[in-house]
Amino acid sequence: MANLSSNLLLVAFILYLVAIPFFGGAIRQKKGLQKEKSFEKWAKIGITITILGFLSQLGFFITRWIVGGHAPLSNMFEYTAFFGMCLVLAFILIYFLYKTSVLGLFVLPIALLVIAYASMFPREISPLIPALQSYWLQIHVSTVALGEAILAVSFGSGLIYLVKAIDQSKRSKSTTWLEVIMYSFVAIIGFVVITSGFAISDYKATYNYIDKNDAAATMEYSMPALFGPHEWEIVNKGDFEPLLEVPAIINAKKLNTVIWSLGAGLILYILIRLIIRKRIGALLQPLTKNINLDLVDEISYRSVLIGFPVFTLGGLVFAMIWAQIAWTRFWGWDPKEVWALITWLFYAAFLHLRLAKGWHGEKSAWLAVLGFAIIMFNLIAVNLVLAGLHSYAGS
């Protein structure tokens, strides 16, 4: 059953991948997007495959739940994979509201990246520590994931807006920032490629070092150490000698992974630029040719409106109720809590700017991008870098 579960996730991944070109085909056929009454053939196939993929991933989720005896929402892999699934669900819902194939062309690749990223973390089914043994686990975590996924759709359509609206004929601040977004996608691909590459080749190197409490410790790397831990010493002769040494306060292994991923991403990005001979933003721009800017702006805004209450409910209200039960207080300024508050404040500011200051269109699209960056920061950096009560989700 555990094998069946992993296979279902793989099937879902492949189905999402297959669905993308169909949405690509659909936008080439479409002319007036707004008044389309019947499904286009290509889009129809695309959305069907997407739904099949979603069902397959749902199967992964349910079987894993049955095997483990608890909702698979308890660590980085499980949460991130679930977030990817919610993103697909949110896309399917918004698709039926607005019938925009181009959204699939942007949101599905993001969902794929999210799931691939998730798979880089330990995937074994782990037992629940006492603090997690509560029905609030599924209530709180699933609502947060759903809320964040809906907000991520706002990012997806904001991105479409930017790709279309930004003038690619000359270099500007906007084109540069858009390339920064593109590079971050490529860097995630870089992370996935590097991590799986070294995992397949079964690379291992162990170093003795002195930790921040001045105690001797060992650290096992799964990729060659560009950055060695504090006062490192090679355990097995012939292992790679670190180029630089970091102070004890910094986790050398994590930093090393980050640098490898960013580096791999940079090489990939340069390669892509050399091949296509223009900005990635410019490469994608023709895909958005037929899209109505007002419509994507509206999708972006509505996703925030739909997602904000869901996020508040899951990330703050349910979170506080559970924290009161498990941790004796509903609020304790734990980094994850603070970043949930920051996310909430940010989207509150977004809504006020839009409603009262008339920030529509491009400004609003940039805000949607920034909001997603905050959500990703909370998912990635807060779990892995800023240690707190939630850091068991990191492993």
């Binding site: 607005y98 419509l295 509206e298 739909i306 209450p309 009161q324 404040l345 500011a349 807060v382």
Partner: protein, 538 residues
Amino acid sequence: MKEVKCECGHVNPHGTVLCESCGITLIEEKAQGKLHDMRYEGSARRSQTYNKTIIDKIWNFFSSVKVGVWLIVVTLIASALGTILPQEMYIPTIMTPAEYYEDQYGWFGKLYYQLGFHNLYSSWWYLVFIASIGVSLVICSIDRVVPLYRALKTQRVTRHDSFLKRQRLFGITHAENIDETFEKVKGNLRAKRYSIREEDGNILAEKGRFSRWGPYVNHCGLIIFLIGGMLRFVPGMYIDDIVWIREGETKLIPETDGQYYLENKGFTLEVYDKDKDNQAFSEAIENAGMVAKNYQSDVILYKKIGDSVAGEEAKLEKVKEYDIRVNEPLKFEGFALYQTEYKLDELSSMSFNLVNKSENEPLGNLKIDLNEPETKYDLGNGYSVEIMSYFPDFEFNDDGEPRTKSRVPNNPAFVFKMLTPDKPDGEISFVAIQQTVEPFGDNEYQMKFAGIETKDVSGLTVRKDLTLWLFAVGGFIFMVGVAQGAYWNHRRIWIRRKDNEIWVSGHTNKNWHGLKREIGMILDGSGIHEPEDQLQDE
């Protein structure tokens, strides 16, 4: 303060831009665009009308959304700063915070500490930002909700031409059978759940007006929530304490006015076993080494009955038995006891045999309760032992004198006086773990170590929070308001006959795409053209 009488006869408050009733422009300079700014219906907002006294200025400052957004952004950035390094409450207590931050994080840590960022969320300036947001919420809401309510209540069906023309959705159709067309459209509007008002044959169809109150409802919720936060500072509203209870011990629960006692029947720590628990976990357990499964204190709660004098043992009545686990606190009378800490295998008793050194035969055995040692133990046959001094947590101080670090028996040491038939004055011996000192020369008798017993200790957080219900009410109202504002739209469609023309205007507070689609369906087949989106022509 003079009121403005409109040509339609309605009397508007001073400062009204668009007549509340017919919508004609009253203040030209404030309504100059091609389209009307419909955000607050052109109503008279105090902040837009008065700017003379200091109260006006404060009011106008806090009622500005721009200021509100700045306050949110500044709070957001400040909150982020507090997560760079752990806050004081999360650092270990091995050294003072000042030392800890510098020791762990170098100059940056020192700076962080000096700036007070180690306690950022309770710093006065952070609280000032939160309070300003609160003030802004109140003033913003009052400034807008009152005039908006008036305007929406007084609006009439027949609006002035200029009002209709300057709506974002607007269109004119020439038509012949106006009556018939209107009947059909009215049917469609009803099917879409619009409430319809008619006047002189004109129509105002409206739905979802209550979504306009969403923002104000959620602001109310937030204000109640913030009041809950303020109440925290009132003594007695919030209690945060911890009680350590050894297995088998009954202890007064702090902060309960001497009313409640708790007995700890036993503490359990369970870890997952890869052979006995779910097989699916075996890989994870192997990787992690040890995974905790359960922390549990089995307790009995007692309530004191009657009055007792200090020193006298209280009479206790059993209230309930409960197994306190993480996520399952024991609740009583507004208090909750949480399983938060534990200490395994604390020494609870030590046993010794009194022996004659030359014979090495035990002459008697004594078991000392390390938390409540007796002063004298009678071993029979004329043998007895006195405890002259007891150091539960023994160490030598700087002068080489024995002393105790704490009252917890981490490292017990005793000064015994052994009274035996042949040494009636007694021999004195100092006994600590792995160590015996005979200060007055060689003794004939010896206290020989015979074993220890240990007990677990449960650390339970004692919590009382009388402000919780306010947070719950505030949070609930916020969620209602935010859903109200986000999931419903306020849509209005004006259909007006003008000779043999039909004028259609539409307004919504959001989701124009949805309104356009709906108007399309309502007008479908009626012969009336869909109104144009005047914003898109630009």
